[in-house]
Symmetry: D2
Subunit: 409 residues, 4 copies
């Protein structure tokens, strides 16, 4: 075991960005007040004393602050960046490089794993099973990862307990709506400098991300059109005052499109054929599959980059369709992802779950756990406190009244 | 069994209102298009042929339309009005009268019960156990009733299966937000003609009702302040752009207060002491317990009615506090409750659950069931169709993609 | 001259309403804090000492408070109600009765006239010219009246100076947007109990009233469609995120229509022919001319009243169109008009203009004056103070900086 | 005179940006549809045939499109960039360079001047009077310039007619609200990636810019606080649902501040002393004088740049205040200024005013003219058409009705 706890910085290609990186970390830290409080407690109580943590998360300024908090809590931390997401460190990291980074994380012989898509868990359960023995537990940040892990648990394959941080109210209720909402609009405007006031903005999907995005697009003056496949959500969108229609209808009307469904080919051939000249299409859901780019390529006679994140496809009939950020998550491609204040809560959940796992792993089974409710509520409380906001408490009389109801008397 | 299915109208005190009643029923019907569709199917298929249904629901124009649909589906329906809620028929119905009405409903020897607070179920399980044998199932409209029924089921006392209509998405996601939202603002304005633009409007509770109300109050130009006891909900209110604080702080600022918490004494002595001269207080949660009226009485030196639904309490220090509708649900006291378009969905759920119970009761246990998901979705679909709105369907490719995710592959 | 100043000589038909009237006056007074402050000053300074004022205004609780303030300022006040508007006093006042009331106001031998449509001025300049000699000045509340008076002044006919209270910023910027906005929605909901969330709400006209109404309809969850004849205003509506189209297109889509244009036949035959079954049409502009009711009558095969303020016209093709409040101003027909807090500013302008006229009439010409800017600003300041709101003042340095700009140096 | 009309590109320092420039011009052009229509007309009709135009405007992609349209209308155009504004061409242009550029524009011997701050006019009326004889007229884009020109006209100094393009409804009603609104939020988020949802956002000034900004900040989920010095505007902000208070009070609460007043030292020493640790301050009004930076320097013990457009000042008491973009217009400093769709209207006004001046200069006096109303309306009409939006026209009957009112009959 390492005698000196360290944050392993994976190799950084571009050293000129290092100073920018440090300042960005400090800048983000100013908005991560819950994590600051937890870090202070960690410094005092050393709950992670000597624990080896391997984290496979996006390398961002916010992640750096999480790593610092874990380190200050006594952990011996290794951070490996993950795939597919541009970071300010090594852009253009290829598959081999990614693989070698995960391997480095495994070589760290983690007691706790911190995953963002279950890749680290995956390697540990396949190519590096020998390292499994030392692992006491882990956390998982994403829906995608949780789905994989639950499947593993169901099949009886999962070898250690994992907490699904994504399911915490203080994570998914906030990052999807407020984080994705703001950063997606930000990404689209940075990419295009397009005026949203008066524009027809089509939001595909009215889940949490879609709600956040629709709300922010309306707040920017756009006339928002929502498409859905679920009738209940569609009806909620209607009652929230949005226009709701099929994507086929919306395709004829939209100035800007953004998909946030989690499904594939939400914008497809039949839609491209109907779009207006100059339509702008983008994605802020999962992966880069929501827009059927191969079909777009086939329909077009030429393609060129008109702005840094804008690829203009000219259809054979002369119409132009502008694809943003190659169909990848536009809030990461051309903007900076979730603001630090949102990541503050997700990472506070991560830090507290890490502490919880160290304390409770002995009594946990090899399955996927939700974030303990009191831990989740504590993050919300700390966030409110950090904003200087006081809320009410139930009086004993009110507690009793509620209890009597719950008991049905 | 009655040879001619009838809707038993309980005795109507005020015959002059009868014609008004009929027109109101027709007026409401225009906005109840899902129920219209179901009624047409019922006429054709007679799914309730010869079934005796006793309903203990608020007597409103919307309820009348539900009764008509059930009757046209072949049912032999008895409707008894319930207590505590002003209707356009017999206001001031007293306890004895209420009791005799429930008894009339029991005398109808129901095969299906339709309850709004589990009163009919209660009598059947206590004073009129002999009638239980003929009952095949029931439905329950309210949270309150569901809590009682679940307690009964838990104790093994419940003698027939009941569907908790309140839990349908097409009910609780819509009537609380959009129904309560609009009708509460309506009730407050009808009672006061107070200008909301620029007023400080305090919403106690940020559940579904509170969200709807806060959204509508903001939409009317008010500066909205939210109070909560749950930190996660409080944080959502903050992120939604509302001011959040303790009721103690809010008491000093508010021009209008409305409680929607489901708890008691949410506005209490310590708050009345801090309120501004002229403050308006109201409730749109459950019962009339959210405002501690006895304390208000004690603090005041005099009381008078200044408008039909406004009681002005003059405090000993000279400040005046205006209590609306005696602290009862203001959207029922001074307005007309949920608009028909909202009740359309709740009552479509009721009608379909009634049909479902007739078909499936043999295979159901003596417990509380949630509304079947496909039935719930069907109501949403019909509502969208009645509005002329088309939504997307998953392509086979998308179905497969989603399925692969759910399977974790 | 009367030795005892009095308020109101007009006969009140329905004595049972008198107590309701008194309490309503007090209720309104609670929201008329600027007028309260002015009244206190008037009591102290007696600026209207012995001045005979004849007012021809709508008789409402708010007007009563204005009359009280004038009386307490020393004036000898006669109030005559005007035509066309339902009041809580004599509904169904006929032409003769109206005429006799104006004559009573003239018989009062006013020194100051206070008009709402220039009727009193009209009689004084035609049938009762002998009384003109004693008049020192007047005020006019409405756009309509101001247009007539300006025409009179242009022709050299006007015999005394009049202040156009309608042009004060503290009047027209507020009553049109916030007063009409809220009270129109209120009127429509009281008349129909129709759910606005998810409804298509068509606003004809995007002037101040239209902006207020569109904003409130959106705030109630409606999808708002705006129609306009002015391209600049239409473009503002677009940029504000509303759908804009011709009334012909909107006619096919709307669930609820409301005209606020100031023009005639805005909803006409060609629109009725396109409307959906169940469409609700209403007016909150000027007069009852915005909806072409004669055409509606001709197109329909039958008509009946389904709710108090709803007339259902059945077209020959079976479609039903619901006309609210007989096409008159719906915020007066089924609701209570502008809330007191809005009238507070208009009537504070009236009271201060009355005082101004007494002080300055000698130096004024026989024409129409705008409200003095400092008087207008003073009303805004008092309103803010009454709400406990403090705003900034320019520092001397800032004053100088601005002045240098205005001078172009 | 040049035989071949040309757009004189002033010397471009950074040739690598040239291609980026060309694509940006094309990108902007896609949103400048009114200008495209005008350009087509210009190509056909050659209204500026052989006219020398010297333009002293910000060099942006949008300006380039204006120059192209003028050139295609037959003009011989010289464009000189102006001072103080970062462009994608020569950043860091110094005073001498700026002066030499203006001189080049004068050397072009313009017949029409197109100014953005009256600098070109200034030189022509002082150091280069000999060139005045050939000038037939000009246009001015800014409020600032118009004030200077009106002062010159008043003193009888102005030697040729100038149209104040800024006063067109299609300019100032749109660029201030929708352009400044969006681009300011964009600038602040690009500079900070700060989460606006739940943040307290202080807007100083509730003019057109302030309204746009307040609306967009609320739309992004912020709790918006407005400060004002004018009581009427302050009251409008209140009625629009915003909190209004003095800047002294707001200073204690704000997370983000933005000044849009047109005055100096709106954020000054007394405010910095009260701000919270981490407060973010910015300006989107005129110049860089709205924030008293010298006082901020004096109060601070250290200063460092934490992100590209963020200067962190650490106060002597340890609090940090983050100044964005050195107090310059943040929508230009860290974002891209008004979106092309907004500039489309302003520059359509410019192009049409230029044409108007060529046609009508002979009959114009040496003073400042407003944009002809029909020209202004035409731009609005074309914009609507370019968006595919049809609006209503008055019927002859309606025309007559309105006319009768205006005539007071």
């Amino acid at each position: 075991m390492a005698t000196t706890p360290t944050t392993i910085a994976c190799d950084v290609k571009n050293f000129e960005l290092a100073d920018l990186g440090k300042k960005r970390i400090e800048w983000a830290n100013q908005s991560m007040k819950v994590l600051q409080i937890i870090r202070k407690e960690f410094i005092k109580n050393q709950p992670l004393k000597g624990i080896r943590v391997s984290a496979c998360l996006h390398v961002t300024a916010e992640t750096a602050n999480l790593m610092i908090a874990l380190r200050d809590g006594g952990a011996d931390v290794a951070l490996c960046r993950d795939y597919n997401i541009p970071t300010f460190a090594i852009k253009g990291e290829d598959n081999d490089s990614y693989y070698s980074h995960i391997m480095a994380a495994v070589d760290h012989r983690p007691q706790i794993t911190m995953d963002d898509g279950a890749d680290l868990v995956g390697i540990l359960h396949t190519k590096r099973k020998t390292e499994l023995a030392g692992v006491i537990g882990g956390t998982e940040e994403t829906t995608t990862g949780v789905i994989r892990l639950r499947a593993m648990a169901k099949e009886g394959v999962l070898q250690y307990p994992i907490i699904a941080v994504n399911d915490a109210d203080t994570k998914h209720l906030f990052d999807n709506r407020y984080g994705t909402g703001q950063s997606t609009i930000d990404g689209i405007i940075r990419a295009t400098n397009f005026l949203l006031a008066g524009a027809k903005f089509v939001v595909a999907g009215y889940g949490w991300c879609g709600r956040g995005l629709a709300s922010r697009a309306r707040g920017a003056g756009a006339e928002v059109i929502v498409t859905e496949i679920d009738p209940t959500k569609a009806l909620e969108a209607v009652m929230d005052g949005f226009r709701v229609m099929s994507m086929e209808e919306a395709s004829k009307l939209g100035d800007v499109f953004c998909t946030v469904t989690g499904n594939k080919n939400v914008l497809a051939r039949q839609h491209f054929e109907l779009m207006k000249d100059g339509a702008i299409i983008s994605n802020s859901g999962h992966f880069n599959v929501e827009i059927d780019i191969p079909s777009l390529e086939k329909l077009s006679s030429s393609k060129r980059t008109t702005r840094t994140f804008v690829d203009e496809y000219t259809m054979k009939d002369g119409r132009r369709i502008n694809l943003l950020g190659e169909g990848r998550l536009i809030n990461l491609a051309s903007a900076e992802g979730h603001p630090a204040s949102v990541m503050d809560m997700s990472f506070a959940d991560q830090a507290l779950c890490c502490e919880y796992m160290v304390k409770n792993h002995a009594s946990l089974e090899k399955k996927v756990y939700t974030v303990p409710a009191d831990l989740d509520k504590r993050v919300a409380k700390l966030k409110l406190e950090s904003m200087g906001i006081k809320i009410d408490r139930l009086t004993p009389e009110q507690e009793e009244y509620l209890a009597s109801w719950n008991e049905g008397t």
